[in-house]
Amino acid sequence: MPDTSVATGDQLIIAGKAYSSRLIVGTGKYANYAQNAAAAEAAGAEVVTVALRRVNVADKGSDRLVDHLDPKRFTYLPNTAGCFTADDAVRTLRLAREAGGWSLVKLEVLADQKTLYPDMQETLIAAKALIADGFDVMVYCSDDPVYARKLEDVGCCAIMPLGSLIGSGLGIQNPVNIRLIVEQARVPVIVDAGVGTASDATIAMELGVDGVLVNTAIAAARDPIRMARAMKHAVIAGRESYLAGRMPKKRYADPSSPLAGLI
């Protein structure tokens, strides 16, 4: 059913495919895959990030992600979480393409365990290799506008700067840089990481980003399904607010009621 709360025709286009939802959700840290599926549903998400891991050979009967989130219904966006070199990231995504058959991927090459901050040099190396190999690369990156530009120049199909550290819930720590990245980008900009609550998602969208990627803020909420719904509305509110154009800020009051005709 089309979401009538979103302006018609306002679509997010990534690598040539149109999406009406601007909220991408992760599938990590949920109590179970059933809750995960219910949250993705409540978020109105069309794209979900997924990880690639070794099959547990001893426990083949365990629940599988694909049994709960149908890859025909949700666009699976395989990630490279846990990869600390370009080689590992490229290897992981080649396996992901073989497992799923899709070439749209989320590249992240991390620098250290404590911050999970992206290693931009390795990220750029991996991005080039993947694009040469036919992948559509959405790239997790720092909020450095210079590296964002370089990643776009080598052909990444979406730039995904962090709002703050992965899983931190600290919100949008550097709105000025996010705005600089938005202004220069010719591909979608999606804030990935750091969103802690619904208002953070709205703040990101009001900066003019094209979408928001949320995992922990939903999965670690007391009521994940309700938070998923809140995020959906927050992203729509931020997008509409950005498109509507906010009023100028003033230092003094400006009455909303007419001054004429006062008794």
Partner: protein, 66 residues
Amino acid sequence: MNVFLNGEPASAPDVVTVAAFLESLGMPLKGVAVERNREIVPKSMYGSVRLTEGDRIEIVQFVGGG
């Protein structure tokens, strides 16, 4: 013969294709990818690629992640 399966020592029949090896493990073929000595084995090759002694086999699938 001895191989490594997902990093752990494992035994496999002396003459076995990737397809037969997966079947012997009771592994679903859908949604998994197989790597042999760091080279992807495409699904179309499962029936023809044979394991050899000491092969390092990785079988991966999608799980939840952010």
